[in-house]
Structures are given as structure tokens and as C-alpha cells.
């Protein structure tokens, strides 16, 4: 078993990995940038090493600094978490070259899945269905137009080396093609240094359904069922759940088999996720391979809740050379789980990222409620990293019970000092489309602004009464979360006016 592990990440996922290590008796080494010196993941680790200034490229993306920390602290393994260096083949290779264990797939699998074009070819050969599309060797406008006509409209133009929706263009008829090609080339060149494009059919109103897979070094590859992540805004997932209401048992079985075939085709090891688009529902639904995420996913707790396994434990065991701790036959889905991502962003201001101190922070608790977070009361949310503060994961016996549990928990999730998307999450969970489990991947891009505008704008009466009571009796203010609400009774009293409230 791994003896001492360096966690090359921050925030909630660093704490998640840290807890799993502690449970397995593995010592932990955290790394941090100057912006995170006081972060919970740093104080909770057995050791912590500074790796650089706040910008990620000088700290969490700095391979030399991270490997230096791993060597100096005599670690025998590195867990990359998600984001940052987790899917960089160069990092996995550097870790292996330094004689350490990389908790993840081999560098060769990262490379094979890292190129969308290459992965597509591999998947087609492995019999995994992909969205009909073309990558013309000749990338001239004429050749691209011919390819577009072959694929058919509506279609999507995507950078071959891309990800995260950057440079992706939807084209509904031939008149929009030339402009979209030029824009996609520009963005692909700027973001990825490579302007090769591919064209694929646009699947309208699809669902995003992904299959968790797991492989060990002994030839065992299993799938751990699906997660539906159709609730996404600008390709950023907001709510994930499992099971997917649109999946019949037979389609689920075929998707699982396709995901296993995909993993085997690239010699995959450890945890990974195959993303699919699902068109339609029931037994007639069709699915298409999108890409493989070669790492632990943000939304992995949804699977853990429904299947009753610990994916990080399994990652550490498999990386240590053990066999998979479960077999395909031993895995079943039980009940329903929903994850809500809590982002530091203001839905009322176009989801503008928020930064500032958490004056008050209280997570909900109760049966079937799990919160994975990277912050605590007093934390300073900085502008340097992803705005996700925490994930709320609820589990219940039915989807409707899970939905109600999520609503109740979010209403009890108190964060003051910066704005969060919690009011937005509450509106989605209450939306008829979510209740009916009928949302598609474009739903939040189409209706997100309207949903955000339905967030209550008036200060609740009871909240106004508390402010009024504090104004009348300043002694009450000592119960304020920080006890620092200004000097009572001065003309500059923040409780003087209720004029500038915004809910």
C-alpha cells in the first residue's frame, strides 16, 4: 500500500482525498500557493509544502515545484485530483519517471484520450458509437464545406485539440458556416495553439449521461453505472444525479458495455468516466460517445451514494497494485442521489464570480446529506481559482425524496459575505422541467437568465424584523456572526437604513 501521498490539488477535492488517505492509514502531504496558506486542506494534512505564488501556472500547475515537494517530503505517490495537472500526460510521465506512483491512468491512456480526433478513431474501431462527424485532412473552406454537407445541418464545429466548449460553434444552415469556421479557427489557435477543426452532427436537446468506469492491473474493467449531468450552464455542470430517468435497463447495459470497451481500447487503469450524449429515452434512446475524462470527477459522490462504494479508496488500492475491490456482479444501484455545486457567483449579475470573506458559513446536516467543501467560516474566497466552494450531495430512496431533501438542505446552507448560486439552485430544483426529469444540456443556457430573474428580490419580512430589532437594541448585535458590525449608535450605523437591500 502507498505509504505517503502528495495531493497535487486544493479545495474540496484535496480534503476528500485527504480523508480517504487517513482512513487507509496513508500519510498526506498537501501543497499550497500563497493564496491558500490558511486554507482547510493545508491545516488538515500531515505535512504542507508551499509551492508558489497565487497564479495557478506558478503553483498548482508547476510540475517542477510539485515534484520537488513530493521528493523533498519522501512521498511514494501523487494524487492529481481533478482539473489542474490531472489530465496532463507530461505530469503523469514525470511522476512515473521520478519513481513515484501516479494515482490515475498511465500517461499513454491520457495521451490517447487527450486528442478528440484520435480518441474518436479509437472508439470507432472499438465499436463504441460516436456522433457522426468528419475531420477533413484538408482543412480549407471548400473541403470543410463539403464535409459539412456530408454530416448534415445542424452541426457543431469543434477544435480538435480543445475542451470546455472553447471554440465550439453551432451552425444551423450553410449560410452561417464560413463565419463560424473562421471564429472557431481563431479561438482554437489562441487557446490550444492548433486550429485543426472537426465537424459533427448537432444532436438536438440531448442529455449528458456519463458512465463511471474502473480498471485494475489484472485485466478487470467494470462500469459503475451512470450519472446524468444535463443541468449545465456554459458547459459547466451545475446539478448531477443518478440514476438517469431516461435510461432503460437495456440502454444502461449497452452504455456500460460501451464504456468498458472504450476503457479497454486505451489500456485504461484506475477511475475514469466516459461521457455520452443521449438522444431520446426508453429502449429506443440512442447514445454517442463524447469524450473520456481520465481522472476522478467532481460529481463522483453521486455514484458513491447510489452504489455504496468509495471511489477514492478504490483509486488508492488499485494504484497500490491491489485488485479492484468490487466486481461487476457485486455492483447495484440503490435509491437516488443528487449533487448541487455551490459556486461563488451572483445569479442576479449574470453569474459574475464573487470574491471576499466568508463571514458566516454553516453546512446543512442530516440523514442522506453529504457536503464536500474547501472552505470554512473566515475563509477568503480568492479570484485565482475555480469558484466552486462546496458540493451538496443528497441520497434518498426515490428521485422525488432526493429532490425535496436537496431543497431542504440548501435552505439550511448559510453562507454570508459573498453571494452564491444557492438561490439559483433552489429555483432549478423547483422548476417543472427538473421535477419532470426532462431537462436537456441546453436548458440552462436557454432559460438560466429567466430562472435567475425569478429569484425572490424582496428581503424577507422576518429578516427585516431582525435588522429592526438590532437597530432598536444594539446589545443584540454582539450575537452577529463576527461581532464586528461597527460601533453601535454612531451616525454611520449600517442598520440605519433599509433602503439599499437587494435579495
Amino acid at each position: 500500500m502507498i505509504r505517503r501521498l502528495l495531493i497535487a490539488n486544493r479545495g474540496e477535492i484535496a480534503r476528500r482525498i485527504l480523508r480517504a488517505c487517513r482512513e487507509l492509514g496513508i500519510e498526506t502531504v498537501a501543497v499550497y500557493s500563497d493564496a491558500d496558506a490558511a486554507a482547510p486542506h493545508v491545516s488538515e494534512a500531515d505535512r504542507a509544502i508551499r509551492i508558489g505564488p497565487p497564479p495557478a501556472r506558478e503553483s498548482y500547475l508547476n510540475i517542477d515545484a510539485i515534484l520537488g515537494a513530493a521528493t523533498a517530503s519522501q512521498c511514494d505517490a501523487v494524487h492529481p485530483g481533478y482539473g489542474f495537472l490531472s489530465e496532463r500526460a507530461a505530469f503523469a510521465r514525470a511522476v512515473e519517471t521520478a519513481g513515484l506512483t501516479f494515482v490515475g491512468p498511465p500517461a499513454s491512456a491520457l495521451e490517447a484520450m487527450g486528442s478528440k480526433v484520435g480518441a474518436r478513431k479509437l472508439m470507432t474501431n472499438a465499436g463504441v458509437p460516436v456522433v457522426p462527424g468528419e475531420t477533413p485532412a484538408d482543412q480549407s473552406d471548400g473541403s470543410m464545406t463539403a464535409a459539412a454537407q456530408k454530416v448534415g445541418f445542424p452541426l457543431l464545429i469543434k477544435p480538435a485539440a480543445g475542451g470546455g466548449g472553447i471554440g465550439m460553434k453551432a451552425v444551423h444552415d450553410e449560410s452561417g458556416l464560413a463565419g463560424a469556421l473562421a471564429a472557431a479557427r481563431r479561438e482554437a489557435k489562441a487557446s490550444f495553439g492548433n486550429d485543426t477543426l472537426y465537424i459533427e452532427r448537432l444532436i438536438e436537446k440531448p442529455r449528458h449521461v456519463e458512465i463511471q468506469v474502473f480498471a485494475d492491473n489484472y485485466g478487470n474493467t467494470v462500469h459503475v453505472f451512470e450519472r446524468e449531468c444535463s443541468a449545465q450552464r456554459r458547459h459547466q455542470k451545475v446539478i448531477e444525479e443518478s440514476p438517469c430517468a431516461a435510461l432503460s435497463a437495456s440502454v444502461r447495459g449497452r452504455m456500460g458495455a460501451a464504456a468498458v470497451a472504450a476503457a479497454q481500447a486505451v489500456g485504461y487503469r484506475n477511475a475514469g468516466t466516459c461521457e455520452f450524449l443521449l438522444e431520446g429515452d426508453g429502449d429506443s434512446a440512442r447514445f454517442y460517445f463524447l469524450e473520456m475524462n481520465t481522472r476522478l470527477q467532481v460529481e463522483h459522490p453521486v455514484t458513491e451514494a447510489v452504489v455504496g462504494i468509495d471511489l477514492v479508496h478504490a483509486q488508492l488500492r488499485v494504484a497500490s497494485g491491489e485488485k479492484l475491490p468490487f466486481s461487476q456482479d457485486s455492483l447495484t444501484q440503490r435509491g437516488h442521489a443528487i449533487e448541487c455545486r455551490i459556486y461563488a457567483e451572483d445569479p442576479a449579475q449574470g453569474f459574475l464570480p464573487q470574491a471576499g470573506p466568508l463571514l458566516l458559513y454553516r453546512e446543512p446536516q442530516g440523514p442522506g446529506i453529504r457536503v464536500d467543501s474547501g472552505v470554512k467560516k473566515g475563509s477568503e474566497v480568492s479570484v485565482h481559482y475555480d469558484p466552486m466552494l462546496a458540493k451538496l450531495i443528497v441520497h434518498a430512496s426515490t428521485r422525488e425524496e432526493a429532490r425535496r431533501r436537496a431543497i431542504t438542505a440548501l435552505r439550511d446552507f448559510a453562507i454570508l459575505g459573498i453571494r452564491t448560486n444557492i438561490p439559483f439552485l433552489l429555483e432549478i430544483l423547483d422548476h417543472q422541467k427538473f421535477v419532470d426529469a426532462s431537462i436537456d444540456t441546453e436548458f440552462l443556457d436557454r432559460e438560466g437568465a429567466a430562472i435567475a430573474s425569478s429569484i425572490p428580490q424582496e428581503m424577507p419580512n422576518a429578516a427585516a424584523l431582525v435588522i429592526e430589532a438590532i437597530r432598536k437594541n444594539p446589545a443584540l448585535r454582539q450575537n452577529d456572526a463576527l461581532g464586528t458590525g461597527g460601533t453601535p449608535g454612531t451616525p454611520a450605523d449600517p442598520f440605519e437604513s433599509l433602503g439599499s437591500w437587494r435579495g
Partner: protein, 131 residues
């Protein structure tokens, strides 16, 4: 809630009750204002204090271009003396992996640029002045 009472529960929490119901409310404040939480909803009251944040806000005029949040300057598309039109992106900021285009609030001539590419800027700080 006409006839009501407010009790402090500690740690920033208050219980408001009347004959019909009870509601729990959390309150926290700092120099910038007071925040209130109830049932998943949050409201904020800006402070009217003389603190630096407030005075910065008050000094804001139509000639100024401000950052809405702490962010890094990634591009400046204007130099002093240049004419800009309303709505034109004159500065691009980046925060939390997201680009924030800062647009000219009105047409005019750039009088001064108070930031440089790579600067970390705070909200309310003047980035650029228009004549």
C-alpha cells in the same frame, strides 16, 4: 408578523417568532455592509460608513471605469488620448478563469489609464478615466 419577538441564538443566528410561525435568520456584518440569510435566500445592506470601501464608491463618477470585483488585468485596449465609443470593450479582466470585458460607460477620450496588464485590481478602484 405584527406581534413578534426576536431572540438571539448565538453565532449570528436569530429566532423570529409570532403566533403563527418561527423563522431562523442569520446575520453577519463587516465594514462593507450587513448580510442576512433566511431559508436559502441572502440579502445585503450596504453600509453607510465612512470606511474606505464606501468612500471609494461615493467618489465614483461617470468619468471613471471601475472593476466590479477583485480581478487580474489581462488586456488594455486603450491609451491616453484615444477616443472610445460607448459599449466598446476597453479593458479585459480575468477572475476565476472567466474573462470580464469592461466596456466604456459612454463615448469620450481616454484621459488616463490607472492599471497595467497583469495588475491585480480591487473593486471600486479606478482603472481608467474618461475626459
Amino acid at each position: 408578523m405584527d406581534k413578534h419577538s426576536v431572540h438571539a441564538l448565538g453565532d449570528g443566528w436569530f429566532l423570529v417568532e409570532d403566533d403563527e410561525r418561527r423563522v431562523r435568520v442569520a446575520v453577519a456584518s463587516n465594514a462593507d455592509g450587513t448580510w442576512v440569510f433566511m431559508d436559502g435566500q441572502v440579502a445585503r445592506l450596504d453600509s453607510g460608513t465612512q470606511g474606505p470601501a464606501a468612500s471609494r464608491r461615493r467618489s465614483r463618477g461617470p468619468q471613471d471605469v471601475m472593476s466590479p470585483m477583485p480581478a487580474t488585468v489581462v488586456a488594455i485596449n486603450a491609451i491616453p488620448g484615444q477616443a472610445v465609443t460607448e459599449g466598446e470593450t476597453i479593458i479585459v479582466l480575468e477572475a476565476m478563469k472567466m474573462e470580464l470585458p469592461i466596456k466604456a460607460p459612454r463615448s469620450g477620450v481616454v484621459k488616463a489609464v490607472h492599471c497595467a496588464k497583469g495588475d491585480l485590481v480591487q473593486p471600486g478602484v479606478n482603472l481608467l478615466e474618461l475626459d
